[in-house]
Amino acid sequence: MTSRIARHVLSIAAVVLLGAFLSALLVRSAPGFDVDEQQLDTRLNASSLRALHEAHAQEHTLFRFYLSYLRHALRGDLGVSRSLGQPVLGLLRDRAPVTVRVVIAGLALGWLLALALGLTAALARTTAYDVATLIASGLFLCLPAAALALLSVLLNAPGYLGIALIVFPKVFRYMRNLLDKAYSLPHLCTARAKGLSELRILGFHVLPVIAPEILALAGVSVSVAVGAAIPIETLCGIAGVGQLAWQAALGRDLPLLVNITVLVTLVTLSANFGADVMSHILRSEGA
């Protein structure tokens, strides 16, 4: 178990470092990277322009920028945003709680909906209810995240509802399949024949079987929710990290983009890692 965790932590660190480097490479090679809006100011003289150029000189050599970024990051200095002119750490500190709140609320609501509908469909086992829940989940599966964001604006609904409705169909469909598979296990037939109630069967014979897969799904759903946070926050006007990522991409803001990539990669990988460890524990307990 310890070696498994150590391997995971090492791979997370490697992926995060590589991801940050690739995002820096991407921004560095993007057209218009060298252009600074301030350079177009006709009031600036040659020495001011030279000073501006020198201020960004460090960013022109990718490796130098990246190594210096890592050195500073280890000391807690994440640099200054080029487009917003503020320290990146401060920006992330201000906006991360907003995104965390939206994503957690969206995830909780999405999972609650999926669990409620999935379990009631499994317990009721009526075709009409099955079809109705499948149509409802299918409908949301076919809606782009940005359209859900606009619909929640039009309906005066909170932004997290959009995230919930993006997470819900994915979780529901997968859970429905897992429940179908679990309910078709032969020992459940025996349990029913012995007179066990449906609730007891669900609690003692179905949920423990599907729990490891559900946990793995929980890790994946975090990634889905974080991805959906960008259009939702941008279109709903929520000042979170998603909106910041959008502004950073449009402003070709290298320091901000690299830090947001690191943050997003860390969050998604940690969620998957946590889910993986938990499901491993459950599996080994089950065995």
Binding site: G32, L141, A145, A146, A147, I230, A249, T265, L269
Partner: protein
């Protein structure tokens, strides 16, 4: 039955989109300046937008772009997945480990985040035609990772199979073995991945378009057409503006219904 109905619907929409020039009552950029923001009428089935362009015509032309280019992007991404994932699985060892590591890196970033970041970094002030190509090219270039992982696993299973061992023993090797024996056996996975990618790319284009990063005006696409929803004050204000959303939902759900459960499992 449902599968056939879905395929028939998709065929009808594709044919309408293909013959947009004949079906649409006006060009996608034609402006009826005397009647901007008009309600649906016999002349303009879905009314006109704020600069007097016929919404119905733009919807048909937009369908042509979204519905015909998404399969093209899906084809390119499936080819990339077959080359990267299939080859890595077939070669095995260090190649497979490197490829899986690279795929993991791709998949560790949320798809929408990656897409928006890359599209945001590319020039936005390009001609409409270039914006169409750039949008769908990005979808193809960034959308291969999940398929590559599945293909890598499929090819790795094939590598251990008896017929490949026999082919190797009879002197076949290298790229010929991959093209003649491995790829044809991966065809069911390739087809399923291609089909699954199309609705994903349609939805991704819609997301990009709604954020202003998709196909540039005046060229219509579903994402661009959905942006009109931003100006709405309520859903009941002008429900005909939701026509692109309804068509998008119908088309994407038909793509999903057209797949059997077994193909989905692949």
């Amino acid at each position: 039955m449902v599968r056939r109905l879905s395929c028939a619907f998709l065929l009808i929409v594709a044919l309408l989109a293909l013959f947009a020039g004949e079906v649409a009552p006006a060009g996608f950029a034609t402006q009826f300046r005397e009647m901007p923001n008009s309600a649906p009428s016999r002349q303009h089935l879905l009314g006109t937008d704020d600069i007097g362009r016929d919404r119905f015509s733009r919807l048909i032309y937009g369908t042509r772009i979204s519905l015909l280019l998404a399969p093209a992007a899906a084809l390119l991404s499936t080819i990339l997945a077959a080359l990267i994932g299939g080859l890595a699985g077939y070669l095995g060892g260090l190649w497979a480990r490197c490829a899986v590591g690279f795929v993991d890196l791709f998949l560790s970033l949320p798809w929408l985040f990656l897409l928006i970041m890359v599209r945001g970094l590319l020039p936005l002030d390009v001609s409409p035609f270039v914006s169409v190509v750039v949008t769908f090219f990005i979808l193809a270039v960034l959308g291969w990772a999940a398929s590559a992982r599945i293909l890598c696993a499929g090819a790795a299973t094939l590598r251990q199979s008896g017929f490949l061992l026999q082919a190797r023993a009879s002197g076949l090797s290298g790229i010929r073995l991959f093209v003649v024996h491995v790829l044809p056996n991966l065809r069911p996975i390739l087809l399923a991945q291609f089909w699954i990618s199309i609705p994903v790319f349609i939805l991704s284009e819609a997301n990009l378009g709604m954020l202003g990063l998709g196909v540039a005006e005046p060229m219509p696409s579903w994402g661009g057409l959905l942006r009109e929803m931003e100006g709405m004050l309520s859903l009941s204000e002008a429900p005909w503006k939701l026509a692109p959303l309804v068509l998008l939902i119908l088309v994407v759900s038909c793509f999903e219904l057209a797949l059997t459960k077994r193909e989905f499992a692949i």
